[in-house]
Amino acid sequence: MIDVVGFVISWLTIFGIYSILSLSLNLESGTAGVTNFGKVVFYGAGAYIAATLTTYLTLILNGVDVTETPPYDVRGIVLLGELGSRNPLMSLGLLVLSLVVAFVIAGALGYLLSYPIIRVGPAFVGFTLLSFGELMRVFLQHYEPVGGNKGLMAIPTPFGWVAESRVREVAYLGLVMGVLATTYVVIHRLVNSPLGRTLRAVRDDEVAALCLGKHVPKIKAKVLFVGSGFAGVAGVLLAYYLTSVNPNMFVPAVTFNVWAMIILGGCGNLKGSLVGAAVVTFVDRVLTFVTPYLGVTVISPDYLRWVIVGLLIVVVLIVNPRGLLPEEPIKTPALEVVSEELGGGSG
């Protein structure tokens, strides 16, 4: 029997995590026109921050000498399994700490990486960030304190102290949905504000925006701070969900998955980001769930994943080149002022 409830929970959790990524990419690339091909950098940074902080602090706070028993060591992993689920307060405290630190550090990284962007010009932005992601991955593969190629395992989870596994999964899903809702509200507000309007203006015509006094590089740095901060948060949620991180999880394909979501859903439309994330993660989950039942197959489901997503994009773009949902006008009180005038004029 296929575990339907389990499927839905795991799909919604992955959907929530990816939605945070697609919403933030939509802010950066859909709204502000920064071609961020390095989304995975900040996602990975967030995941590694959560993994590192949680494993090291769990050991240290329990009186373990991490110079002798580091968390990537076999003994460390065993200890983490024993200690991680003991103290609810510690688990939740580490969650909050990871979320805050990941937002700030990933955000700051995005802010700093905008500097070369200003130097190389818009066409190379994507590739600068893409290469940086690969550099980071190679660095992590060889950096011993975070486990090198093996990464970090047995990361204590925020709800590890909950005995019943189904309850634990639902609680975690609730957390992910809460963070997603917050992300949506924040980005929705940013887009529907004078700042959002300026971002779209910069995207449409940088030169004209510059002539209207807009400091284009600063604006892009700000956007990358926010977008990368949220990507970091998504990374935190991923690390706790999978309870392990390793460098090979953070390949460029992750970035392009998120791009597929915003292209499908519609660049510049936030609801579209949710729809895109739902569709792509659904395909992904179905394949993951079905694979074990297939036995030996001619084509690996992994390849099918890309074929299906690719086909979906082609079909959607043929029907509507702007994706499923079009960008909407910015909603500010200015609209009311105008509609009062228009209504009064005709009446």
């Binding site: 004078p194 015509d205 006094g213 400091h215 006008p329 200015a334 609209l335 105008v338």
Partner: protein, 256 residues
């Protein structure tokens, strides 16, 4: 009358092309000054030098700041805008996916809702936003464009696009407005309306304009002083009647 803008012996070369070759001119406070010349005479290049797009190869550009004239050549375009110089483009550069209203609302400086933190707090900027929207409505009404307020730029006619560029510039108070062929592609009566409004702004609010225009029959009726460029050099200057009867100007236009 004091000068708002003073261009002193400015030169700009593109390889062998002397787009500007030692040009000096002045725009007085509350002036409505025309800048004319045959195609390729350097008019747009002069705007580009004044607004920080190009650094001049020679000479200085000065802008009034209370009792002083300060150099603005070498500043970036966004800094020049902040000093109080607004320009429009010969080939319009609007924000094409934005509505007419949104295009106008991009212009004003110092919008509270443009800060990252304040953007999240609607209450902190919605009052200012309404105020700016009323200003936009007033300008749109003046140009008979209010019913296009919620249209996208991509749905507008060429004439409306051209007008919108001018209106967008007028959304912010500035020391000097540089208009690059505001009436190109605009029908005769609308063009006259546009110039009438520009003159009205000058008369009633004391704004200052430097206007490039090829349609001399309209321009000459409105401006109080004209500079004529030819091959990057100042060919003639004076009151409109003086300039049109200057044999050198007539020859340049016919020769070109």
């Amino acid at each position: 009358m004091r000068a708002v803008l003073e261009v002193r012996d400015v030169a700009k070369y593109f390889g062998g092309v002397k787009a500007l070759d030692g040009v000096s001119l002045e725009v007085p406070e509350t002036g409505l000054v025309g800048l004319i010349g045959p195609n390729g005479s350097g008019k747009t290049t002069l705007f580009n030098v004044v607004t920080g797009f190009y650094v001049p190869d020679k000479g200085e550009v000065l802008l009034r700041e209370s009792d002083d004239l300060v150099r603005i050549d070498g500043l970036n375009p966004n800094e020049v805008f902040k000093k109080g110089v607004v320009r429009t483009f010969q080939i319009p550069r609007l924000f094409n996916s934005l509505t007419v209203l949104e295009n106008l609302l991009v212009t004003p400086l110092g919008q509270r809702g443009e800060s990252l933190v304040r953007a999240l707090l609607r209450g902190s900027w919605s009052g200012q936003e309404r105020e700016l929207a009323r200003k936009a409505v007033e300008l749109l009404k003046m140009f008979d464009m209010l019913h296009y307020a919620n249209s996208k730029v991509s749905e507008l006619s060429v004439a409306h696009i051209k007008m919108l560029e001018t209106i967008r510039g007028l959304m912010t108070p500035a020391k000097l407005y540089l208009l690059d062929e505001p009436a190109a592609g605009v029908d005769y009566s609308t063009a006259r309306k546009l110039f009438t409004y520009v003159r009205k702004l000058r008369d009633e609010r004391g704004l200052t304009f430097l206007v490039i225009e090829h349609r001399l029959e309209i321009l000459m009726e409105y401006v109080d002083y004209v500079y004529v460029l030819h091959n990057g050099k100042l060919l003639s200057e004076g009151k409109p009647q003086e300039v049109v009867s200057d044999p050198k100007v007539v020859e340049a236009y016919i020769g070109a």
